[in-house]
């Protein structure tokens, strides 16, 4: 079947199998490999993307049912070479180690901050509780998201401290 999904502000039309999951559509069909796949029971959250601004596990959404919705992936967080404060926060506070859970965590954080710009530690923990990080023990993720809350327009210096974007 033919689907058209808007991903990071761009309409992407493709011919797909109806059963194709959004996570595989993004990764294998569009080559947006920042969204990860870590389980088969919808427990890990490494596949989280934003659908119309709300976090969803893209392993539980059919690509076909994403048609007509706006999907944001980690690749869409940086705008015009300026990092999202959440991205910079993860760098500042060592919110990542292997980086596998990181895109999903950052997107959940973005949605949380859009709704609640000043979340408490407990609210942050609650927001990311559907996602597993095996490396960080979560405290630095919480701090990263707090950093972003405290620096809502921080982005500018990011490219300097977090290195240049990969080409």
């Amino acid at each position: 079947m033919q689907v058209t999904v808007s991903v990071n502000g761009e309409e992407r039309a493709r011919e797909i199998e109806p059963r194709l999951l959004l996570v595989h559509f993004l990764r294998d069909v569009l080559g947006l490999t920042g969204t990860h796949w870590g389980c088969d029971t919808s427990n890990c959250g490494t596949c989280v993307v934003l659908m119309d601004g709300r976090p969803v596990k893209s392993c539980t959404v059919l690509a076909a049912s994403a048609a007509g919705h706006e999907i944001t992936t980690v690749e869409g967080l940086e705008r015009d070479g300026v990092l999202d404060p959440v991205q910079q926060g993860f760098h500042e506070e060592h919110g990542l180690q292997c980086g596998f859970c990181t895109p999903g965590m950052m997107l959940t954080a973005r949605a949380l901050l859009d709704e609640n710009p000043n979340p408490s530690e407990a609210e942050i923990r609650e927001a990311i509780s559907g996602q597993i990080c095996r490396c960080t023990g979560y405290a630095t993720i919480v701090r990263s998201i707090r950093w972003a809350a405290e620096h809502p327009a921080a982005a500018g210096a990011a490219a300097e401290t977090a290195g240049e974007a990969a080409p």
Binding site: T41, F90, H91, H94, C98, F100, G137, Y138, V142, A166
Partner: protein, 786 residues
């Protein structure tokens, strides 16, 4: 403006260089590799834990329009690849030929156009199994009438793999015979799984014309894997390139070679196209390297006034259906004999029996430092049991028995020589950070009110950084690591290393080591890893060996460059090299500090036209192979506070204080991150995680719905502290930190749970201390270990 504290030249809180790609979703993991014409493999797995294979019919699968090939054990047999060697010198079936020996074992491999089609085709394979009796209980595996699992091994009539011991049995028995107090306990360190968020997988690309293989794989040891592929697949080693791109967590799960990797390689050879195999989560949990599964009986002997005299322990080690643990050859129980712990003992002895069961193979994984996890758990539980028996305070009992600083290097009763330590200072610091006295007072008050609060302590001594190579090898490969440092004419450098980050931040910390030694900014040092074509040989990252071994290599190679730079500087400045002095980043003339040359200037001159002394070659590049003289022995003192709900048995970790000593600290940000991650592992193991089996050998922990990993809601905000006791034999005094917290935290948590349950007279609860187990223990029905 950045301060030097934020941008240190050398050791300090440098933010990670590698973050730039990960926060942009530009990390490149194995499953991100897409090659033109690439096909996808999927593994058919056994539903039975033990069954004879009567027949396999793949014809329907072969007819699936998107299927390119189907491999079975018989096909591999024709190539001599149906079995492969394990890291413990056993053999393991790649695809089963005679019978299956655990649920989830690999039976066939389908190669198709895409991953969905490959899995569809698995459904079309018809296997006729004849079920056999199953044994999943390690003790019962030793019974005379237990089904023999490894009848493929010539003359094998039982399930015993090895009997191994350490320490002095007679001396230990003698001490126990005269001790005032002896306490014994049976405990199980249950089977758990490292479960990194990225599962295991590979992309194999065989070029028939060149006869060369490129293998992208989730490996913690790319060089060792290349050698093994050369030996197993009999491909010439120089034609094999193993690439470990970004690895999404390893924790020991990615040390071994799994049948899926071999099948991907064969699949690429057979189809002439690149083949990707990526396991799903249930395959990861059911079939790849589990951890622990040690059935232990420990005893501790002491005087009535609280001097610990001896420890002994008997273990039945469940290795699953194939002995595939990754550990140095001479040490079938890993470094378990460091169970002597952090205490001055008169004698110690352990006996370990390894057994086959109808469970997945593996055993050394999940940040265990080669079984130091099991050892530390055993001794720290025993010390707490002794404190209870003596009615002593567990902190005081430990303080009275810890090895004193002046006793280092300390030779433990099982032969280890601990390099350095100041244990008492670390423990006192943890007690102070926690407010131990106040906590005990609070506990007494709460007990009055019927509330269950527990305070648990754990002290650990780790043994990490294997070699030395003369004592330690894996499949004959000595445990050393090389480093290669190139200094370009402009003074920028490239460091090639043989160890493999899975999130530990090597691109940052190894650049800092070179920066520290050469005085150039860490941004000027590019760290190359994860590609056997571009890096020197070495055994890889596990057992916390990166800093102790490869970190030492990086320091040594940088010092070689510095020494060479001195010779070049002497030619540039026309003074004797002996008259030159080093300050960070620069050689200068003694007594005339203005006369000097920076490393950058020297690098340019070394590649330029300066006349060098006879026998000195141009350039500054250098390489080294580091063979550690001894292990390093990081240590730490942990304290955990839990609350137990008397109505449900639910345990909540309220506080966790961790004081770690890993010697010299290269990057405190990364060290703290490593500790945090390990503490979360500890909460998982102590309270939640379990790979269990039913009587028929069905795996009951085969998905993340059943195998419970802590989320942000189950862990507290960690309170970390540190002391610094450098290793005397390591070039920069660093000891390694990657596994300390995973090793040290479970006993502190279980000690806290048992402490909370003291009003109920509970002496021990086996991990994981789930609400139902805790509640059962409160009713006086502790689940007996198997």
């Amino acid at each position: 403006m950045s301060t030097t504290e934020e941008r240190p030249i050398g050791f300090g809180r440098l933010k990670r260089k590698e973050d730039a790609r990960f926060i942009r979703g530009q990390g490149r993991y194995v499953d991100d590799v897409q090659l033109p014409g690439m096909l996808h493999g999927a593994v058919l797995r056994s539903p039975y834990a033990h069954a004879r294979i009567v027949s396999i019919d793949v014809s329907a699968a072969q007819q699936h329009p998107k299927v390119h090939a189907v491999l079975t054990g018989r096909d591999l047999d024709g190539l001599g690849l149906a079995w492969m060697p394990t890291l413990s010198m056993d053999t393991q079936a790649v695809l089963a030929t005679d019978k299956v020996r655990f649920q989830g074992q690999e039976v066939a491999f389908v190669i198709a156009d895409d991953r969905y089609a490959a899995r569809d085709a698995l459904e079309l394979i018809d296997v006729d199994y004849e079920p056999l009796p199953v044994v999943v209980n390690a003790r019962r595996a030793l019974d005379a009438d237990a089904p023999v699992i490894r009848d493929d091994l010539e003359g094998k009539a039982d399930n015993r793999i090895f009997d191994w011991e350490a320490g002095d049995r007679a001396a230990t028995d003698a001490v126990f015979a005269r001790a005032d107090v002896v306490v014994s306990e049976e405990m199980l360190y249950p089977r758990v799984h490292p479960a990194p968020m990225e599962t295991c997988g590979a992309v194999a690309d065989y070029d028939a014309v060149e006869g060369s293989l490129t293998l992208w794989s989730t490996t913690q040891a790319p060089h060792a894997h290349r050698t093994l592929f050369a030996l197993v697949a009999r491909l010439p080693e120089q034609k094999i390139r193993v690439i470990a791109p970004d690895i999404g967590g390893g924790f020991g799960n990615k040390v071994g070679i799994y049948p899926g990797y071999v099948c991907a390689v064969v699949g690429s050879i057979v189809t002439g196209r690149p083949v990707k195999w990526m396991e799903d989560r249930s395959e990861n949990l059911m079939a790849t390297s589990f951890a622990r599964d040690y059935v232990m009986r420990g005893s501790i002997a002491a005087t009535r006034d609280g001097r610990i005299l001896a420890v002994r322990v008997d273990v039945i080690a469940d290795h699953g259906a194939f002995n595939a643990t990754a550990q140095p050859t001479k040490y079938p129980a890993g470094f378990f004999h460091v169970f002597t712990g952090s205490y001055e003992l008169e004698a110690a002895h352990c006996a370990v029996t390894g057994v086959y069961t109808n469970k997945a193979p593996g055993g050394v994984a999940y940040a265990c430092s080669f079984r130091v996890t099991e050892a530390v758990y055993l001794v720290e539980r025993m010390v707490d049991l002794l404190a209870r028996e003596l009615d002593a305070d567990p902190a005081q009992l430990r303080l009275a028995n810890l090895i004193r600083p002046d006793r280092f290097p300390y030779e433990a009763k099982t032969g280890w020589v601990y390099d350095s330590g100041d244990y008492e200072t670390a423990l006192r610091k943890a007690l102070e950070m926690a407010g131990y006295e106040q906590l005990r007072a609070e506990q007494a008050e709460r007990r009055e009110r019927g509330e269950l609060m527990g305070i648990g302590l754990g002290f650990f001594t780790e043994a990490v950084g294997a070699g030395p190579r003369k004592h330690m090898d894996i499949l004959g490969l000595g445990m050393a690591d090389a480093a290669e440092l190139r200094v370009h004419p402009t003074g920028k450098a490239q460091l090639g290393i043989s160890v493999q980050t899975q999130g530990q931040g090597h691109e940052t910390t190894f650049a800092q080591i070179v920066a520290q030694e050469l005085g150039i900014p860490p941004e000027d040092v590019e760290v190359v890893h994860g590609d056997t074509d571009r890096t020197p040989f070495g055994l890889g990252t596990y057992g916390s060996r990166s800093t102790p071994v490869s970190g030492a290599a990086a320091a040594v190679v940088a010092r070689k460059v510095r020494d060479k730079a001195r010779v070049v500087a002497s030619a540039m400045l026309e003074v004797s090299a002996d008259d030159l002095e080093w300050e960070r980043g620069r050689w200068f003339v003694r007594g005339d500090p203005d006369q000097g040359a920076t490393i950058q200037e020297i690098a340019m001159a070394a590649h330029g036209t300066v006349e060098l002394p006879k026998g000195v070659e141009a350039g500054l590049d250098s390489e080294t192979v580091y063979d550690p003289p001894n292990l390093t022995f990081p240590f730490g003192a942990y304290l955990c506070v839990v609350d137990v709900d008397p109505g449900t048995g639910k345990v909540t970790v309220r506080r966790f204080v961790a004081v770690d000593d890993c010697g010299t600290r290269i990057n405190p940000i990364i060290i703290e991150g490593q500790v945090h991650g390990g503490l979360a592992d500890g909460v998982g193991m102590a309270l939640m995680e379990l790979i269990a089996f039913d009587e028929d050998g069905n795996c009951l922990g085969g998905s993340l719905m059943d195998y419970l990993i802590p989320t942000a809601l189950e862990v507290p905000d960690w309170e970390t502290g540190f002391t610094v006791t450098p290793s005397p034999h390591h070039p920069i005094g660093a000891k390694g930190i990657g596994e300390s917290a995973t090793v040290g935290s479970p006993p502190a948590i279980v000690n806290a749970v048992v402490d909370a349950l003291r009003p109920y007279g509970v002496r021990h609860v086996d991990m994981p201390c789930t609400p139902s187990r805790v509640w059962e223990a409160m009713q006086g029905r502790g689940a007996p270990p198997q």
